[in-house]
């Protein structure tokens, strides 16, 4: 599990989070969702949480504590997944409803 302690891993993770930022921006633009500072703040908090979860699992495995890694991963992973759903719902605030979109399309 040396990979978790390497700079390369965090470099890859940084790239993935950047891809997420670009993806969220693209979704917001496609669906005409207004982007506000607090949505980005919520995303930032989630990134910290997800990063912490990955770091916890990685460092626990690295220190030879597989039980702590698994339990911590399940515990913080659960919180991160639920928080991701909350983030998605926050992100969609202000999105025009699908019915309104259909009317505009026609």
């Amino acid at each position: 599990m040396q990979i978790f302690n390497s700079g390369f891993f965090w470099f890859v993770e940084g790239i993935l989070f950047c891809v997420m930022v670009l993806g969220l921006r693209a979704v917001a633009r496609d669906r005409s969702i207004p982007l506000t500072w607090w949505k980005w703040l919520a995303f930032g908090v989630w990134v910290l949480l997800a990063g912490f979860t990955i770091a916890f699992v990685g460092t626990s495995f690295g220190e030879g504590e597989p039980t702590a890694a698994i339990r911590g991963g399940l515990m913080f992973g659960l919180v991160a997944i639920i928080a991701a759903v909350v983030l998605w719902r926050v992100w969609m605030i202000g999105a025009p409803s699908q019915a309104a979109e259909k009317v505009t399309d026609s």
Partner: protein, 396 residues
């Protein structure tokens, strides 16, 4: 005439249901009988561990005398038993000839591994070694709310004191006061009563008000029965009662209230108020489901299949509990993992799966895994047989 085939069909179904119930009950009874017929533990083994130089023992009215190879008296020992979380636990305490506690050994205990760890029993057992028999300071009141497993810890302490009192009475002719276990009636018990009454009252109102009452009750249940007290009904508690190990009502009144409310509302009134209004884990799933926002509808065959699977798991868990006379073995619920952050890796995994699935499927634990649902079905069948009314839907 037209009614005859229908009646015949119904009778056949009833006969099949009856046969199934009989087979299940017979299997469980056999397992329980087998578990009960096990030989009583040989107390000389743990006493020999306490008095390592002991070569022979003599027993008189439950108090053992330990002698060394030359026939010199090493000390006395007796057992003490108190009801814990999963059933009675049996401890043996030895007192040397100077009146100091030579050691305490656990002979039998039926607690779940997590609660046993939380009870910090080894610490208590070690701490009393060398202490004069009349100077044990532990009292049940001291540990309430300290360990997170007060019933288990209280049982350990009561067992130690009971066995020490037994020896003190026989060897030194001293009557030691036995530990007091106060009658617990507090916010938890009041909350349970209020939730049941609110749940029954809510059925008399309709529209959004009923939904609001349910939300308020569930949130209260989640916070008080769940996160604060971690006292939901578990299969281990039911298996313990079915095994004949009834917990002390002074310390487990909340459990009796929950089970009585569950059974009475299911059988008499036809609506299981516990699951709908008081169950903290059901509330947790609903909260997560609210975050998810969408509820997928599963095909009926898969729901039926999962129901059969759940019944099988519950049967296997109770069977094992009866066979080994270890009710704690039947506990597979992830409640402790969520409410007190204590659980095995398997329970954490189960909690993870259930709560993630709750984002997209309504209350998956209640519908597919919860042993109380199987108990509820049995109770509803009893009610249906008595009143010939259709079985209520799981959780509406």
């Amino acid at each position: 005439m037209g009614h005859r085939p229908k009646l015949r069909r119904r009778l056949r179904i009833r006969r099949r249901t009856l046969l199934r119930i009989l087979v299940v009950v017979a299997a469980l009874a056999l397992a329980l009988a087998f578990g009960r017929t096990r030989a009583a533990p040989d107390l000389t083994v743990p006493i020999g561990e306490i008095f390592s130089e002991a070569a022979s023992f003599a027993e008189e009215r439950g108090v053992f005398r330990a002698y060394d190879g030359e026939g010199r008296l090493l000390g006395w020992a007796a057992s003490g038993s108190e009801s814990g979380y999963g059933g009675p636990m049996l401890l043996v305490a030895g007192i040397d000839t100077l009146g100091r506690i030579a050691g305490v050994k656990v002979v039998e205990q039926r607690e779940t591994p997590i609660f046993w760890r939380m009870a910090r029993a080894p610490e208590y057992l070690k701490a009393v070694v060398g202490v004069p028999y009349d100077e044990i300071e532990y009292d049940y009141v001291e540990v309430i709310g300290v360990t997170g497993a007060t019933i288990s810890t209280g049982a350990v302490i009561a067992s130690i004191r009971e066995s020490v009192a037994e020896v003190a009475g026989a060897a030194f002719d001293v009557s030691l006061p036995l530990p007091t276990r106060p009658f617990e009636f507090g916010l938890l018990e009041i909350t349970i009563l209020v939730l049941f009454f609110a749940g029954i009252a809510a059925q008399r109102v309709s529209g959004p008000l009923r939904g609001r009452i349910r939300w308020v009750c569930q949130i209260a249940g989640l916070l008080i029965i769940g996160f604060w007290k971690d006292s939901p009904i578990t299969l281990a508690k039911i298996a313990a009662m079915l095994s004949g190990f009834f917990p002390d009502p002074r310390t487990s009144l909340a459990l009796y209230l929950l089970i009585a409310g569950f059974v009475v509302t299911s059988v008499v009134w036809g609506r299981n108020v516990y699951c709908l209004y008081a169950c903290p884990f059901g509330a947790a799933q609903r909260c997560v489901g609210l975050i998810g926002g969408k509820s997928l509808k599963l095909p009926a065959w898969s729901v039926r299949l999962m129901g059969h699977l759940r019944n099988l798991i519950v049967f296997a868990a109770i069977f094992m509990a009866f066979l080994t006379l270890q009710p704690a073995l039947s506990s597979y619920e992830p409640f402790a993992a969520l409410f007190s952050l204590h659980g095995s890796t398997l329970q954490w995994l189960l909690l993870f799966i259930v709560l993630v699935v709750s984002l997209v499927i309504s209350e998956p634990w209640c519908n597919f895994f919860c042993p109380m649902r199987s108990v509820e079905i049995v109770l509803q069948d009893i009610r249906r047989a008595a009143r010939r009314t259709p079985r209520a839907r799981p959780h509406d």
